[in-house]
């Protein structure tokens, strides 16, 4: 099938009002959820996922992508107006966004955040369209040994960069790998950690684990210290962003978008480091560097371009290789699986129409984000006033309904509650949950490909080093581990050096 054939089939799938409505609803939910302090984009995507079961795959996935894109932008609204980032990725936006709000220029800061987000989103989507197909065609030649080394490489990065402590990230990833072994063995069909319970034979439900890890701990944390108050919401002011200001920041926005694209396409790095790198690069290159941190509009543009530039690019490894780039794309990979689709190079052959429909939908999402974002900015005062003492009980109810709906199983609700307490424990001991979830998803793929490779070679490990691709992934895995250990040691050293003797 030619590129044009695939494109026209994709267009046929997406050119319905239902697709646009799904995308629009997703963006609305994402922007509003991201704007509510305490509801992260991750939680919003996780809670929306069960509502997509009844939809055809393309509508369901567009809805989730809308929530993802909207959530990333939505987080910048409270970052600017109440100095509370709605998502970790918006932390860099606070640096100049809030000082601008204090100066009565919140409307200007939010306007720039929106324009920078939409521009970066567009650039990121273009990168996705350009590179995903190319990478997928390259990955078509991968066999089990290549996939094993690729997934191993992804795990080394993900475990290392997802938290403050490398060791805790690694332990978290190992626990995720362990939990993924529950159920029937892939090769022999024997039981693993089933203990005679038929509910465990199919393994643990991904949605129950996901919602348990990312939504329930937030509820428990709120119970620990319930507080409905939030900082004062700054008014939007009379200042609005001008075209001249946008033009002046355009170079910064493009640079930030490219940083986002580059970092987003590497599994595991995520939006927050990209936003900070984009911000520091903008500061380094700006003629007004002294203004950064005091309310510089270019700082807002850089931070937002950095974190939104990641959004499309994280889908490159997801669609082309079947490897999630961050936690949210890990959830989206779960959505693909629930809808009977397996992301990866083969999907470009078997479901090219869906892939191209997603590409077109994503391009449209940048425009819809502009519309929804400009309305959400004006409505934020009402969003911020939603009492958290009502919000979190509502989240609990939605979690229970959503998790039950996956398999019509009350057992999954128990799994979700237990995972919630585990997630809360991990939160308290500062062990990141993201490596756990991603390892839980990648674990079966890792083991499956390893054992397939062993079956192919009759147990000979040489097959894992059979060609340049496997050698490449072994090499980058070793480099990433060495770099992670070095960074960890350097950070610890600098942390101790800062402490008073």
């Amino acid at each position: 099938m030619s590129f044009l054939d695939s494109l026209s089939l994709g267009f046929g799938l997406v050119a319905h009002w239902q697709s646009l409505a799904a995308l629009f609803c997703g963006i609305v939910v994402g922007v509003f959820a991201g704007a509510i302090p305490g509801i992260s984009a991750t939680m919003a995507v996780a809670l929306t996922l069960p509502f997509t079961f009844a939809l055809p795959p393309i509508y369901g996935i567009l809805l989730l992508l809308g929530v993802y894109k909207g959530g990333i932008f939505g987080g910048s609204i409270p970052a600017i107006l109440i100095k509370t980032p709605g998502t970790p990725a918006s932390s860099a936006t606070v640096l100049d966004g809030y000082p601008m709000a204090e100066q009565g220029k919140a409307g200007k800061a939010l306007g720039m955040a929106l324009y920078a987000s939409c521009t970066a989103d567009l650039i990121s989507n273009l990168a996705l369209i350009l590179f995903a197909g190319w990478l997928a065609s390259f990955a078509l030649s991968f066999g089990p040994p290549e996939f094993f080394t690729l997934i191993l490489f992804s795990l080394t990065i993900i475990a290392g960069v997802s938290g403050a402590s490398l060791l805790k990230g690694l332990i978290s990833a190992c626990l995720g790998l362990l939990l993924a072994t529950v159920g029937l063995d892939l090769v022999y069909g024997t039981e693993r950690f089933v203990f005679g319970d038929p509910n465990l034979m199919g393994g643990l439900n991904f949605i129950a684990v996901l919602i348990g890890l990312f939504a329930i701990p937030e509820i428990i944390s709120f119970i620990w210290n319930p507080d409905d108050s939030h900082d004062k919401v700054r008014s939007l002011g009379q200042h609005h962003v001008t075209f001249a200001e946008y033009k002046r920041s355009f170079k910064t926005i493009v640079r930030g978008s490219l940083i986002g694209v580059f970092l987003g396409s590497i599994p595991g790095i995520g939006a927050a480091p990209s936003a900070f790198l984009s911000y520091s690069e903008a500061r380094r290159n700006s003629p007004r560097k002294a203004n950064f941190g005091k309310g510089e509009i270019e700082g807002v543009a850089a931070a937002e371009a950095g974190n939104n530039g990641v959004a499309g690019a994280t889908l490159i490894p997801l669609l082309a290789l079947g490897v999630p780039g961050d936690v949210i794309t890990a959830i989206i990979i779960g959505a693909f699986m629930i809808h009977g689709l397996q992301p990866g190079p083969m999907m470009f052959m078997t479901n090219a129409d869906i892939i191209y429909a997603l590409f077109i939908g994503l391009m449209v999402s940048s425009v819809l984000l502009l519309l929804v974002g400009s309305v959400a900015i004006r409505l934020f005062r009402f969003i911020a006033d939603i009492p958290r003492s009502l919000l979190f009980p509502s989240v609990l109810v939605l979690c229970v309904f959503g998790v039950y709906a996956v398999n019509n199983s009350v057992f999954d609700v128990v799994v979700m509650f237990l995972m919630g307490w585990l997630g809360y424990f991990m939160l308290r001991v500062r062990m990141p949950a993201a490596p756990f979830l991603i390892a839980f998803i990648l674990g079966p793929l890792l083991e499956d490909n390893f054992r397939q490779a062993m079956l192919m070679s009759g147990g000979n490990f040489e097959i894992l080093f059979r060609g340049p691709i496997t050698w490449f992934f072994w090499t980058v895995s070793v480099i990433s581990i060495v770099a992670l250990v070095r960074n960890e040691l350097r950070e610890r050293r600098s942390r101790f050096a800062e402490e008073p003797a």
Partner: protein, 163 residues
């Protein structure tokens, strides 16, 4: 007795768990057929590798804290909660258990409404009237979506059945 750092406790717990996994849970919970040709294909291999990786991770965490320079204990962010924090946590655990059990008897909608109300009581929400409205409206709306739109058979209780 000097107070042990949180990371040391965590490392020790992780190591103990890994040992229990390697010597108790895997032998009891993972069965390997006799026909396995090679150890690398055995269903036991993968969990065993993971168990020892967890053990090493826990050991390194303890070692890092004991041998390296001590990382400060990050307790401040959880300190000074509102009075009765542990009681609220215990109440939430009981609520979750009750919620699960109540689904079978009164159905998911009414169990959810009840759980919502109890949770707002635990939190001591100031918005009582709104809580009462949302407690019933949200489960009913969610039920309507899942049952009538998505076709999910939401469990109904033995007492009040919904259309």
């Amino acid at each position: 007795m000097p107070r042990l750092h949180r990371n040391i406790w965590l490392g020790l717990i992780v190591m103990l768990f890994a040992l229990a996994l390697a010597f108790v849970l895997i032998p009891v919970g993972v069965s390997s057929p006799r026909s396995v040709r090679s150890i690398v294909l055995s269903p036991i291999l993968w969990p065993t590798i993971i168990a020892w990786m967890i053990f090493i991770g826990g050991g390194l965490l303890v070692g890092q804290q004991l041998l390296g320079r001590r990382e400060p204990d990050h307790l401040d962010e959880w300190a000074n909660p509102r009075h009765g924090a542990w009681f609220r946590l215990a109440a939430l655990a009981v609520l979750m258990a009750g919620y699960y059990l109540a689904i079978a008897y009164i159905g998911m909608v009414w169990a959810s409404a009840l759980a919502f109300l109890v949770l707002t009581l635990i939190i001591r929400s100031r918005y009582r009237i709104t809580a009462l409205i949302v407690a019933f409206a949200l489960p009913l709306f969610t039920y309507a979506f899942f049952y009538h739109v998505a076709g999910v058979p939401i469990p109904q209780g033995e007492f009040i059945r919904l259309p």
